[in-house]
Subunit: 226 residues, 2 copies
């Protein structure tokens, strides 16, 4: 914090939050975008975002959850802060800071309404409003890095899933095949799944056990990268 009271005379930046919500869809990793209905940058597609409201937000994460729900109807179980972006040029309204968040959703938890809201392929997405291309790129990088050494992708899954399905999700995000036994070892060591009692899904020759997350909590780190 600054020492001089005089420094409070300087103007304050605009402060917003922007949320990158990922899910797995037909196009692989997908991200939710909204078409802006007002200036600046009206009609352009943007990440869901909005101003921090100092009269109601308990903290930055609460601001993100409020904005996300207000703009998309989505309440996300998993949210993590990416980083803050701030400079004089990223928003025409002046020096602004946006705190970027990343949210993960299993597909069925999503509720897009038609027209001005769309899930698009995350990898090819460019031309978003403001500096949202950059925020999206940071989110993709964070997700890919974490996939290598955490249980984070499990938060993209439905409530119940098989281990082969979990492995396919990892492979899909990483874009490469993983060794099955090494993968199973990391997953077992991380100790974040539990079998769903009495639930097996029919597979080719024997039914596959269904699993669920022990808790919708913080991702667990692997002992080694995949």
């Amino acid at each position: 914090m600054a020492v001089d009271g005089a420094e409070t005379e300087f103007g304050r930046p605009v402060v917003t939050v922007d949320v990158v919500i990922f899910t797995l869809g037909a196009a692989g990793l997908e991200v939710l975008v909204l078409q802006r209905d007002a200036e600046p940058q009206a009609d352009r597609w943007a990440l869901p975002g909005g101003f921090v409201h100092i009269d109601e937000d308990a903290d930055l994460e609460a601001a993100s959850r409020r904005v996300l729900t207000a703009k998309t109807g989505i309440a996300t179980p998993y949210l993590e802060q990416l980083q803050a972006f701030g400079d004089p040029a990223r928003d025409p309204r002046g020096w602004s800071v946006s705190i970027g968040y990343m949210a993960l959703l299993s597909h069925k938890a999503t509720a897009p309404h038609p027209g001005r809201m769309a899930w698009i392929a995350a990898d090819g997405a460019t031309g978003l409003a403001f500096d949202h291309d950059r925020i999206l790129a940071a989110a993709i990088m964070r997700l890919r890095n974490k996939v290598e050494y955490t249980t984070l992708p499990a938060h993209l899954l439905p409530d119940k899933f098989t281990l082969p399905y979990l492995q396919r999700v990892y492979e899909r995000i990483l874009g490469r095949a993983l060794d099955k036994s090494a993968f199973r070892k990391r997953i077992a060591e991380a100790d974040f799944l539990e079998p769903v009692p009495g639930e097996k899904r029919p597979a080719s020759n024997r039914p596959a056990q269904l699993y669920r997350l022990k808790a919708r909590a913080t991702p667990v780190f692997f002992n080694r990268t995949l």
Copy 2:
């Protein structure tokens, strides 16, 4: 970003940057703190920090570098953003956002001036002003995590160093011994060091080669954790 122009009517948070600067000293990992000379929280010890100046800062990192140099005389070669902290209670001046940064210094690059500036052991440090205990804790966690899988600790070293010294620095931060051959393998794979031509440091029985960073750039990720 928000859609409604009306939302700009809401008050804006105070926006500051705070910098956690680490070095390795006699007490192990040490952090630089300053005694505040004005309210709020006059006389308490705090991380170097200050307001973002919208009339001069090119971005948040530039704001951190400006604040750090102005308050401590230190220009840091390595700086990375930690995260943003924001809520109504962390600063008595109202709803505020601080973007925390972590800087790493080799000890000789430091220039503390006496009296109101001190290097203290990072691990035991509590009772700092505002929520700086929390920002410091986040920095320690980030550093420890990155030590496991990146070349980051090399930025705590002097310009020239031996591989045994580098390993001791890793061990000191991690608080555990590392296998020498596995450590050398990760370091070689990361390919971020080069021998200093003609420079060897006398060791017990044979002179040890001195190394330096190939570039004072971004830390390199290991293929596997240590």
